[in-house]
Amino acid sequence: MEQSSNETVSHKKAKPYINPYIGGVLLGIVLLSAFFVAGEGLGASGAFKNVLSVCAAPITSADNTTGFFAKTYKSLMEDSSKWWIALEVLGVLIGGLLSGAISGRLKLKTEHSPKITKKRRLIFALLGGVFFGIGSQFGRGCTSGAALSGMASFSVAGFLTMICIFGTGYALAYFFRKNWI
């Protein structure tokens, strides 16, 4: 967007991020277009479940179980619209890459607070991912699918999940402060 003059000078200059409110309006338009086209909002965690159910299919289909992944796989095979979220998430990867390329932010690195080691950052990232993975299944969607899209469709679950995600984050922030500040 606009050139900001107070940007700190680094040796390899990346473009500044866009204004968060403009970003929010743009994200809202993307979300609205998802509703307009497909009748439902955005998501991310569903794609993980779908990919896993396909990978697990040789195992789950053998014993013809009605397990979690078997059920997911069956619905994917019966209804092609269930692939929506997987393709959308593939788009997220491409969109992120494009944006990073345009703004000069493509760089292989582990981002962490100078107060902690790289190893500690990666261990916490892994654990955080595990919690988020389990939680997103209980929540029937993550921050985008359950909280954001749920809120936008006025869903009680959307608001509840959003409050629980951020409420828990704030409640525990003190204990993890060393990792971030």
Binding site: Y17, G28, L32, K107, A146, L148, F154, T168
Partner: protein, 196 residues
């Protein structure tokens, strides 16, 4: 006329192609807003960077206004819009677990994809974690199936629950969001901030 797919105005395959482009827009906007940085994302919990809250609520309110106005103009049939089903206990458990994941990992699934795309190794590790988490959930599913489906309340809308019209509800939410934005701007001045 909309949702286009529900009304069979576009084919299923074309819908999947559009999914790719909507995802592309999603990823692009997330990255441009700075959601590819875990330290920026985590800032919302410490007050040094409230971007997450600003983007999140602006997006929700924008989409909600869009839905209501589109419906008013007869462009979209709100009856066909998917409202997330509420399973009370599961939604709470899920939200709490995700909150723990957020404060530990600094990402959520969508933002981690976006960050991994620009080369953040911590995001790639986070994604491995998500896969492990979903596998744990799937394998242990019989253990928590009961609680997962308990207290099913259907596609309940919060506006209906508190007994106001969608428009009134959205107005109240917008006022709340504005108050939060003012608070966010104020709080950011109180805490030192780096550029990530």
């Amino acid at each position: 006329m909309a949702p286009l797919v529900e009304n069979e105005l576009i084919s299923g395959n074309f819908n999947l192609l559009i999914a790719l482009f909507i995802g592309l827009g999603f990823g692009f906007v997330l990255e441009q807003s700075g959601f590819s940085s875990s330290r920026k994302l985590a800032g919302v919990f410490y007050g040094y960077d409230m971007t997450v809250m600003k983007v999140f609520f602006t997006a929700a309110v924008t989409a909600m206004f869009g839905l209501l106005f589109f419906s008013l103009f007869g462009w979209i049939d709100l009856e066909l819009i998917y409202v997330n089903n509420t399973f009370l206990y599961s939604a709470i458990i899920g939200g709490v677990l995700m909150g723990i994941g957020f404060i530990m990992g600094g990402y959520c699934p969508g933002t981690s994809m976006c960050a991994a795309a620009i080369g953040k190794i911590d995001a790639m590790v986070f994604i491995i974690g998500i896969f492990i988490g979903v596998i744990i959930f799937g394998i242990g599913f019989p253990l928590w199936e009961k609680i997962y489906t308990a207290k099913a309340m259907g596609p309940l809308k919060l506006s209906d629950l508190i007994g106001v019209k969608d428009g009134v509800f959205l107005l109240l939410l917008s006022v709340m969001a504005l108050a939060m934005f003012f608070a966010a701007e104020w709080v950011e001045k109180k805490f030192p901030r780096d550029v990530y």
